[in-house]
């Protein structure tokens, strides 16, 4: 009796094994890509946004879609026998040491062939050190610290613009708006939170202010978790700047907006970074956010001039039930760049992918960003075409207003006084 059971067990086990093997043999193989994001912890909601962007990108690469994105019309990666991409997610909790250890784990245990993500620049820093040590390509499209591409790393590539580019954009915008409206701008005030992100923006903004010939009349830094900013705003009012440039996260952006209104701080224009475009900002300040200008790499209203943006935005909304945010749109880029490189390399070997990445040349019409394309600088590995756009909040909506020739809406300038607004 017992031997009979054992033999039945053995036979069925073999059958199952055989079936799985044959099923695997028929399916094109999958290629694993590691994605490190802050999926829990205090910026988990941003991490989720990034995750969704990357997931949608992989869906489009793996399936058949009638979109002008790279590899959208074919299933999987054609030159690798239609191999599908699979994202393996890892949680960093936003801590640099986890960025390192999770990247190492993904590479050594999960056998991923490339890494994307990290969002926070400090985490990207340690994660990319791990890929550099283990010689695995890393394509980043969501961290904006300029230092990341100043290290001369061989395996690290960045698709999106960094803070120095964003800072330069804002000054270019000031020059353009001066020409357009004929209103002279003389001085700027710099306001920034004091972690790496804000202080970097402050540093580059000061540098570009000099280059573009504007006088910096105030240079104010503050901790992002401040609960009262009356004295900071007081300093700004005293300095009487024409323009306020503000680099913030979200809670401080809300606090400052309320304090600006309360103390009636009305410069000619307020141009900002990051915090003012997070999904939670507008619901918190409503109409008080109007007329503020923010840097962005993406805006859904660009769909008027670039239908692809609308199509992708639609897919995103259908899948997740929310509008595609800027963070999701940024993370959306990296899987395409990697898939395109692997397709041209016809290989998933690290050295081959890196070689292919160096010859990446994706034209602008195959992307959802307002750039000329994607092409990496041979030394720094920064995308040389990456630029930002500027959006302005008008009627409690983000509309793209700069560069003027590509923007669907007109900028409202100067900033109307707080008192007497409807």
């Amino acid at each position: 009796m017992r031997t009979k059971w054992v033999s039945i067990m053995c036979v069925s086990l073999f059958a199952v094994l055989f079936l799985t093997v044959s099923v695997f043999a028929q399916q094109p193989k999958t290629i694993k890509i590691g994605a490190v994001y802050p999926l829990t912890g205090n910026i988990a909601s941003t991490g989720l946004d990034c995750r969704r962007g990357a997931e949608l990108a992989v869906d489009i690469i793996n399936g058949k879609y009638n979109l002008s994105l790279p590899l959208a019309k074919t299933e999987g990666i054609p030159n690798l026998g239609g191999a599908k991409l699979e994202l393996v997610f890892a949680d960093t909790k936003g801590e640099p040491k986890n960025g390192m250890s999770e990247t190492e784990r993904l590479i050594t245990q999960e056998k991923v062939v490339a890494i994307i993500g990290a969002y926070q620049s400090s985490v990207t820093k340690t994660a990319s050190q791990a890929t550099e040590r283990l010689k695995i390509p890393y394509v980043c499209s969501d961290s904006s610290s300029p230092t990341l591409t100043e290290r001369g790393f061989k395996y690290f590539f960045r698709v999106s613009p960094h803070d120095a580019i964003f800072a330069k954009d804002q000054f270019q915008f000031l020059k353009d708006v001066e020409k357009k409206t004929g209103k002279k701008i003389n001085s700027v005030a710099l306001l920034y939170e004091n972690t790496e992100f804000g202080s970097n923006v402050g540093k580059y903004a000061a540098q570009y202010a000099k280059e573009f010939g504007y006088k910096v009349v105030a240079d104010v830094s503050y901790p992002a978790n401040a609960t009262d900013v009356t004295s900071e705003v007081g300093t700004l009012i005293k300095a009487k700047p024409d323009i306020l440039m503000h680099a913030s996260y979200i809670t401080d952006a809300i606090l400052f907006t309320k304090t600006f209104k309360e103390l009636n701080f009305t410069p000619m224009g307020i141009t900002t970074f990051a915090g003012y475009i997070e999904p939670g900002y507008l619901p918190a300040v409503k109409a008080d956010g109007n007329y503020i200008v923010i840097r962005s790499t993406f805006a859904l209203d660009l769909a008027k001039k670039k239908p692809l943006i609308g199509q992708v935005g639609e897919l995103f909304k259908k899948k997740y039930g929310v509008e595609m945010s800027e963070n999701a749109a940024r993370s959306f880029a990296a899987p395409f760049v990697l898939a395109d490189a692997m397709n041209r390399a016809k290989s998933t070997k690290s050295e081959d992918i890196v070689k292919a990445l160096l010859t990446t040349d994706i034209p602008g019409d195959q992307m959802i960003y307002p750039w000329k394309g994607i092409k990496f600088d041979p030394k720094s590995h920064q995308n040389i075409y990456a630029t930002g756009t500027l959006v302005q909040i008008q009627n409690e909506k983000y509309v793209t207003v700069w560069p003027f020739d590509a923007a669907p809406a007109e900028v409202i300038w100067p900033f109307p006084p707080w008192r007497g607004r409807k």
Binding site: A44, G47, A90, D91, K93, R105, S122, T147, N194, E196
Partner: protein
């Protein structure tokens, strides 16, 4: 008594042999990383224990020493190409000096007041580093990738050297703690912990011995800081000076059993793998369930084993007899 001692030593011997063999058997680098973190936090908790568990100074500012250690060696390496091993000693000395400078004026603070002062100290140091341009301010310091090897305190291809170095550091800390606890000084510390005034009346130089405890603790913690910098190769105030690290050290020591040599090690053995593995297994779902489990277990232990896990073991041992 003799018997108990030899028994304890044989347990420690077995644990040591296991620790040495472990990474040779388990080659999974993710697990090795967790083990390295375990040693690192255990070492810092042992250092905390000298101050908190023995001398009764509940420090919530320990992370400042960790950060000072990390920053000193990294800064010296980047700006003056000083070897990290020498940098580590320098970091320890700087931390001990700072500890003395802050410990002296605080030498009359007791209980809660000391804890509050230590939080303030940790935060002041963090804010200062966050704005100090010379050491990279908020941007932090990125360590250069040296060739690698024991001389450079940097290893690129394998985690084993980091593992053994950190294990050695932990053993050093344990030996220091053991020597203190069995010496006269250890008894002075306990006396101070029980009652400041009684200790004073007994003729113990309270200020002096408290300073010694703080300085030894700071030196050891700073060593771990240098190790962290050499291991992760990037430091900023957000990752090496944040209050939660201090709290974690207190938690580890209390959970394991403060005031015993091995208690903090046991605490770290429970808490560090717990938090790391729950994140690795469950974190990627983004549901935060790992934090829930972590918190639940801490609550359980503190409800049913307020003396710490080490207390649980010693109780078991007594009952068995």
């Amino acid at each position: 008594m003799q018997n108990v001692m030899t028994k304890q030593f044989s347990y420690i011997g077995i644990a040591l042999i296991l620790a040495i063999i472990f990474p040779l058997v388990v080659t999974n680098t993710a697990v090795q990383h967790v083990a390295i973190l375990f040693f690192m936090f255990a070492m810092m908790a042992v250092a905390w224990n000298i101050m908190g568990g023995y001398a009764g100074m509940f420090s919530f500012g320990q992370v400042a020493f960790f950060g000072i250690g990390a920053y000193t060696s990294s800064f010296l390496l980047i700006s003056y190409q000083v070897n990290p091993w020498i940098g580590m000693i320098a970091g320890g000395l700087v931390a001990a000096f700072v500890a003395a400078a802050i410990g002296y004026p605080c030498s009359d603070l007791r209980g809660h007041y000391f804890a509050i002062a230590s939080i303030a100290f940790g935060e002041i140091v963090r804010i200062h580093f966050n704005n100090w341009k010379l050491v990279g301010a908020a941007e932090g310091l990125s360590l250069p990738m040296l060739d690698g090897g024991f001389k450079d305190f940097m290893f690129h291809s394998s985690k084993l050297p980091y593992y053994y170095i950190m294990l050695a550091f932990l053993i050093i800390a344990l030996i220091v703690c053991y020597l203190i606890s069995t010496s006269k000084m250890g008894y002075y510390f306990r006396a101070i912990k029980e009652s400041h005034d009684v200790a004073k009346v007994l003729g113990i130089n309270v200020v002096w011995y408290r300073l010694i405890a703080i300085m030894v603790s700071a030196f050891l913690t700073a060593m771990a800081g240098t190790f962290y910098a050499q291991y992760v190769l990037y430091i900023d105030p957000e990752s090496v000076m944040l209050l939660p690290i201090s709290i974690q050290l207190v938690l580890i020591s209390m959970l394991g059993g403060a005031g015993s040599v091995m208690g903090p090690v046991i605490g770290a053995l429970v808490l560090i793998p717990l938090s790391e593995f729950t994140r690795i297994w469950l974190g990627h779902r983004g549901t935060g369930i790992d934090m829930l489990i972590y918190g639940f277990l801490i609550t359980l232990i503190s409800m049913y084993q307020p003396k710490g896990v080490w207390g649980f073991f010693t109780n078991m041992g007594k009952r068995a007899k």
